[in-house]
Amino acid sequence: MSGSTDAVDRPALSGRPASELTVEAARSGELGFDDTRVHPETLLHQAEVAERHANPQLAENLRRAAEMTRLDDDEVLALYEALRPHRRTPDELTQLAASLEERGLVRCAALVAEAAAVYARRGLAR
């Protein structure tokens, strides 16, 4: 049984190939944080794999995740906070969705837009 779904030397978010992630490189200080972060293309590839293995929802999650690689950690945490109950008005959520869409994060935007509508109907907005 083979451990990997493919033999590609996938690059980190920084573009550096995984094979260059060595102890020596870490020791010499030449690696940065983005050298340990997953690349969106990799997540899109894994989404296809999930799709082929009868889990389109996992695939959708991975595609959303691919978009979110473009957000820094603080922004990810802030968006999560915004989606928690009673944090934002429906309008604020709708605007948030629009701004995400503008930046090309269309799947994330769709999720937030859907939340805006449901939160308004179910009293989960601020």
């Binding site: 779904t5 102890v23 200080g29 991975l62 959303r64 979110m68 968006l79 109950p85």
Partner: protein, 747 residues
Amino acid sequence: MSAERVGRLRFMDAQRVNLDGFATEDVELGLVAFASPFDPEPGLEVEGGRVVVLDGVPEADFDALDEFIARHGIDLEVAAEAMGLTDLALARLVVDPSVPRAEVVRLAAGTTPAKLARVLALLRPAELVLAMTKLRARRTPSNQAHVTNRLDDPLLLAADAAMAAAYGFREIETTVPVLADAPSNALACLIGSAAGAPGVLIQCSVEEALELQLGMRGLTSYAETISLYGTEQVFVDGDDTPWSKAFLTSAYASRGMKMRVSSGGGAEALMAGAERKSMFYLEARCVALARAIGAQGVQNGGIDAASVAGSVPRGVRSLMAENVMVMARNLESCSGNDALMSESDMRRTSRTLPIVLAGSDFAFSGFGFIQRYDNMFGPSNFNAEDLDDYLIMQRDWGIDGGLSTVDDDRVASVRRQGAEACRAVYRHLGLADFTDQQVERAVDAAGSKDLGETDTLAVLSAARAISDTGLGVLDVVAALAETGFGEEAERVLALARARLSGDYLQTAAIFDESMGVLSLVTDPNDYAGPGTGYEPGPERQLRIDAVRQARSVEDRRAEQAGQASDLLAPLGPAEPGQDPRDVVIGVSPAVGRQIFVTLSGQPVLDVLAELLAGLEEEGCTGRVVRFNDTVDLGRIGLAAARLSGSGIGIGLQGKGTALIHRRDLPPLANLELYSTAPVVTPALYRLLGANAGRHAKGATPDPARNPYTDEAIEARYHTTVIALVALERRCVDPGLGPEELSLEGVR
């Protein structure tokens, strides 16, 4: 008039199972396992590709959970087919080994929560075992450990994580009694696990946002305490919605981290929010939601509320059915068993065993690798106290519960390696300085109570430094390498590198010890009946079988040889006695050759001394003769009697079984027999000698009673008996007549 309860009832009351709480079913409170009259009828109506009625609720009335499940969780292409099958027909497909897992998964994707709950409620216990065997995602079963301690002591965490990794746990989950210590605990477990084995995933279970931060920095590599609940009210009380959880799920994936969600029957009842629904139906909503938000797996099976489910009829069964439901929805199951659900050892074993027999992606969502008192999640259903039991249960049933025995030297060396590596990194990064004595104590400790005085403020300040400096996985790798822990550095870096390939984001992914990914994708479960599916390979089976308690005949021979004595030397052929007070003590062939200590631990020489002293008390003379042609005690005793001047003989096997015989009796008859050799005391041997003397004189013996014990004496000694009898057999020499043995040095 109220009579006092009879003694038998008072006795029953005192048994440990009666410390557990048992509830009568109460629908109003949600205290019902499988079917509440208020659970909805399963149903699905679709118009123009849109769900308009879900389990009896029209879309205008959808709550947040209905809405998310209806929009994202149901495969509408198979829904009509799946919902059209009767509950029984679907249940049979779930169990039937000739129906492939993929077909069950395909159909389950089209079912509503209420439908799948109805279907799986039909499975009886043995059918649940079969369904789990077939439906779990990953072919190779695995296990997860809890590693925590009351003090958040990093050296002890590292030593325990190292040992857990060496035993085979592929995930380690830690948490904190003091929230601010979390970064230090994550780091200590990461370093420790790397000292034990490659590829162990680390989790630090804390508040959602902090947990995500630790993961983003690479100090942890997965998360599982992203809680889902089965009613909108309880969900929102948990300060989340299905959309915030869906976002969080993607957030983890966006940083290359594995994650699963957490739910479990009884949680809503515990929070007074079950809305008169059964635990299993509410859990069915959680599992449907888990799939809908795109999580790769679910930790369920009661979890924190396992004892709530366990308190009602069929509750324990429902816990296992929850795990099967996760598998049917094509998700990884991390199968609970992580909360001590009973004070009774039998009951908690009964709750866990079927899952271990069937094999799960993770049999425990936290086997407590530390002692109960050190488990900061609360005691798990199995803990450090039960580790040997678990290893032996694997061996008993020939199954792989994910663990195998580690030899004593390696336990010591990995604990030391973990603690030393942890100290080195903390010192190198300026987090804390630990003394040699602290390392020694952590290596040796069976729990945090063995650590003596520790400086908990040092942990807190280390944790703060980790947070403030933004320390990440690359700093840890560099520190390990700089301080001479090159192998650990490689292993930690390998986990960071694995994030780049994303393969461990797939369902049920773990790493094997060569950093190969085992998942639904790379290692799919192919069970289709006997002879298929996972079976430990020969090498793996040997490791499971080789528990450290097992002994061979050769081991027993060596143990006996360690107690060898050159007394009892043969003097020459034994002659018939003429003196009417002569009593022969016949011993078995291995006595004085290979067997020197009886089952009770008394040297054979001491036993002979007692027998001789007893004879002497009655004015008789004993001699010791070894009979070399048989291992049968009756025949030895009879032969001894026939050689005695008195016609009375004593037979003694090396293991300590003894009897009195008379020359005119058939071999299998005897006058007195001590059959329970392990518990025969010196005083009883002396009494046997005295009674033999009384028989010889024609006086009345004082009957000896076999000592009684309620211990599992057969379990304890039968294997030794078999080995000692084998040693006796090796010494049998049919050509060698009875030999008189020297008594010099015996008294």
